[in-house]
Every structure is written in C-alpha cells, then in structure tokens.
Symmetry: C2
Subunit: 284 residues, 2 copies
C-alpha cells in the first residue's frame, strides 16, 4: 500500500484503499488529539493548501512530511506527484478513513502527517526579528491559527504560544493558518515569564494589546514608538491579558474605537496592531 | 404567560415555561430562517449582549423589541427587568424551547424577537458618513457579522449588504456583530450597481479591497487618499471582487503582504483597510 517512489504510485483500481480500521489510519487518527501529537511527535495538515505548503517545507528541508493520505476522489494528482517525487509515501484511503482524520465538516480527502517542530524560544528568536506575536491564554484554535496567518502577512518573524494557549498544531489552528504555520517559527512554552524574558533578551519591546490601556495605537504611531522592534502580546478571547502579565510589559496600547463597538475580536485586533507596527517599521 | 409590565413578571414556580411545541415558540423558530424573517418582518437576537443592545435600541426608539424569551436558569434578571420596564413581553421558556431558537452550540437561554429594520440605501447614507463598508457576495454569516463589528469600531456610518451577500439578520451574523448591528444603519440591496451609485451620490470614493491591485494601502496612505470620504468594497471569501464590480470602482488597493502569507481572510483584511481610513480621517 505504501509507495516509495513515482513508479509505485497508487492508481485507481490498482490498489485497495486503506479503511478507517487499518492500523496506519488508526495511528494517524491519534494525531487529532494533543496528547497523541506530543507522543508521536507529529501532526496532521489537511487539505490542498496545507498539504502543498507542507510539501514545500519538506522540499526546503524545513520540516519532514512522513506520509500523505488521499482518497481516490480527492483529485489532487499534483500534490501526490510532488509527494512521490520527494519520496514521501502516499497512501490511498477510503472517504470514511479520510473523514476520520479530518476536523472539518467537509473533509477534503487529502491529509499529510508532518513532524512536529520542536522549536525552542531561542531558536524562534535567533534571527532577531523586528516583529513578533505572543499569544497568552488564547483558547480558540481558529483564532490562534488566524493570528499566525496575520502575523505572517504583517512580516512577523515568529509567533510564540505562551501559557495555556491552545496547541498551534490543533487541526483547526493548522487550517486557519492557511499554511503560515509552515512559513515562520512557532515556539510554545507554558512559562509566560520565560517567553517575555526571551523576547526582551532578543531586543524586543513588549507591547500588550489591551482595551483598557491609556495609550492608543494612533498616538503611539505618531510618537514613533511602533517602529521599534516589537513583541505584540495578545491575551485570551474572554478576559484579555492578566494583570500579572501586563505588569511585565513595557507598555500596553488599545486599538482606538471610533464608533460604538465595545471591542474588536482577537484576530481583527491583532491585524490592526501588527499592521500598525509593520507599517511604521517599513516607513523608515 | 405573556407579561405586560413589571408587576406581572414571571417568577420561578409561579408560571409554567413554554415548551418548544407552544405556538409562540414555534412562530419565533421560523425566524431562524431568512424566508421566515422576511415574512414576519422580525429577527432573533440571542444572548445577554445582543439582547442588552436590542433593549437599548428599543429604549432609544431605534428598533422595536417584540418579545423576550428566557429560561428560568438563564439568570439574566437585569435584562428581564429592563424588558418589563419597557413593556416588552417576557416569556418563560424551557431549556429545550430556548435551544430550538438558538443557532449556537451552547444556547444562552435568552432570546429577543426584534423588528427587522427596513433601512433603504438612501436612509443608510442620509447622514453622509465619511466611512462606509460594502459587502459584495460575502457568504459566511460569521464573517459578515464580524465586518459589521469592525466597521462600527472604525467609526463607519453604515454597512451595505450588496448582491447575494448573506443575510445580515442571520443568527450567526447577529451574534458575530456583538451588538454592532444595533449601532449603525445596515441596508441590503441585491442590485450591486444601485449600491455603488448610492455611495457615489453620497460623496463617497469607491475603493475595492483586492489582493491583485497595483496600489497598496501604505502608498495610498502616504498620498493622502485614505482621508477622503470612502466606501470600502469587500468581495466574497472565495473569489474576492468580480471584475464587473471592480470596473465600477474609483480604485482598488491591496493590503501589503510583508511576509509569505498569500492573503488575509475577509475580516482581518477589512479591519486593516477600515482602520487605515479611520486613522487617516482622524489625523486631519
């Protein structure tokens, strides 16, 4: 069933698809849970875009793709050919087996098993990025993945998942990042103080996004402070940044609210903050 | 069961909650679908925040709340007292009846039936707002509601739902707007050309957000054009703005991508665009 090169590609009718009961699929299914990912040191990337980005990262030597599972119906011949060209085993699976590996309502019939990066804080910051996003206690994987995408778009050099923030390699987070998880270093550390210290040691100013802050983005922009190397620190959806985290930061800033909305959601607030810094840094 | 004033408030043990089979709940349940909303001229607002905003709008004479449904367990005494003070009938319902009116996974046990605003394009633009958001072909109600929230936060004076954009009064859109749907005029018109003409007649420059545009936000900002009265036009999640819409606009601009992400999602792109205009307009 495993094919080791282009010549042994599964063709419709020539191989029997693996079912959801096969041991290979059952082993991969454990990666839909965090404990399973940690134990196996692997995670799942689902869908054409994520699998394509994973294969690019594999080809670049950034991250190893262990296996690709595809249904006969998935019609992603391009990705399967790329996988085979990189000697990544491709396994034909049933629709039901693919669905059992999926965390989406409409499974795409294409899933890659990837090595879980073990990126340390210092490794993530070693290139001394000028812009970094730090998530503290973010609970929703879709939000976390969207912030990774926004951070990538704004040119951030790393995203740090601190405290009890959701796992970056949760299937929904991987999906929401639309490949950005493969573009920039993502490090995880439960010790928030250690994450903030590492940022400071890397020459970053620690700026928290806080709806109750005295200073706002526009004033900070005019004062020139957004152009400095910055680690933006974002809190959880429900309660924002805890006081003990805020007290460790260089400053907090709020997104100005020009209308009657009481707040922005995490992803849109992060977009406005990260882009404000990116704009200021690129203006120089 | 219907209480017409503070003195007739339902108290635990003194009234029998309406079940999901009661005609009043069955009639309200029709409002979870667009056709039902159009026919009855009403929509549902669920949860403490939305119901609170609806009651504020009712007290301000902006929008009439017809009924409030609450479970005994919902513990929203403050809102029920406000409803009664405004002579809005409050109905005690079972958990199951409340869940049948809910479009969320975790029903909050508190739902208001509100008059569906019939805001025309010209009414929405009559105050000649300097910032407006136009949605063309946006399919996801959560995205649409989030853009309403972002537009409100950025101080926009109206949001226009054009073409086959999802219904603004879909339960998920109402929820994602977190009350902003009650803060600013929202008009709907299937005729995209009519929406664009109305914006132009109101003195607004028509600017489309387009990942393939030649000009970008930063350049436009430096050139001063973002400070002009602007209607930002956003396309659907999958394909963006159709060519026939783009050809009707004054210009298109892209959000600069400083990293390797191929794009932003609709809500985060809208946040960056609307805030860029808001900042430029408030700088003056």
């Amino acid at each position: 069933m495993t094919t080791e090169g282009p010549s042994a590609a599964p063709r419709p009718g020539t191989t029997t698809p693996l079912t959801e009961r096969s041991s290979r699929v059952a082993v991969a299914r454990k990666l839909t849970r965090r404990a399973g990912r940690e134990k196996a040191g692997a995670f799942l990337a689902e869908g054409a875009q994520a699998v394509g980005e994973a294969l690019t990262a594999h080809a670049d030597g950034v991250l190893r793709v262990r296996d690709v599972f595809a249904t006969e119906q998935s019609r992603h011949a391009e990705f399967l050919d790329r996988a085979r060209a990189e000697s990544v085993p491709v396994h034909l699976v049933t629709e039901r087996a693919a669905a059992s590996l999926s965390e989406t309502v409409t499974p795409q019939g294409l899933v890659a098993v990837c090595d879980l990066p073990d990126t340390t804080l210092s490794a993530a910051l070693t290139a001394r990025p000028k812009l970094v996003a730090v998530l503290v206690g973010v609970a929703d994987p879709g939000n976390a993945g969207t912030v990774v995408r926004v951070a990538d778009a704004a040119g951030a050099g790393a995203v740090l998942f601190a405290g009890d923030t959701v796992d970056a390699y949760n299937g929904k987070a991987v999906r929401a990042s639309t490949g950005s998880l493969f573009h920039l270093p993502v490090a995880r550390d439960r010790d928030v103080a250690a994450v903030l210290s590492a940022c400071r040691a890397a020459g970053l100013r620690l700026v928290g996004a806080d709806g109750y802050a005295t200073g706002d983005l526009d004033t900070a922009d005019r004062g020139g402070e957004l152009a400095e190397p910055t680690a933006w620190v974002f809190g959880g959806e429900a309660h924002g940044l805890p006081d003990e985290v805020k007290s460790e930061l260089d400053t907090t800033l709020r997104v100005p609210l020009y209308g009657r909305a009481e707040s922005l959601n995490l992803a849109t607030a992060a977009a406005v903050c990260l882009y404000a810094s990116a704009r200021a840094q690129h203006r120089q």
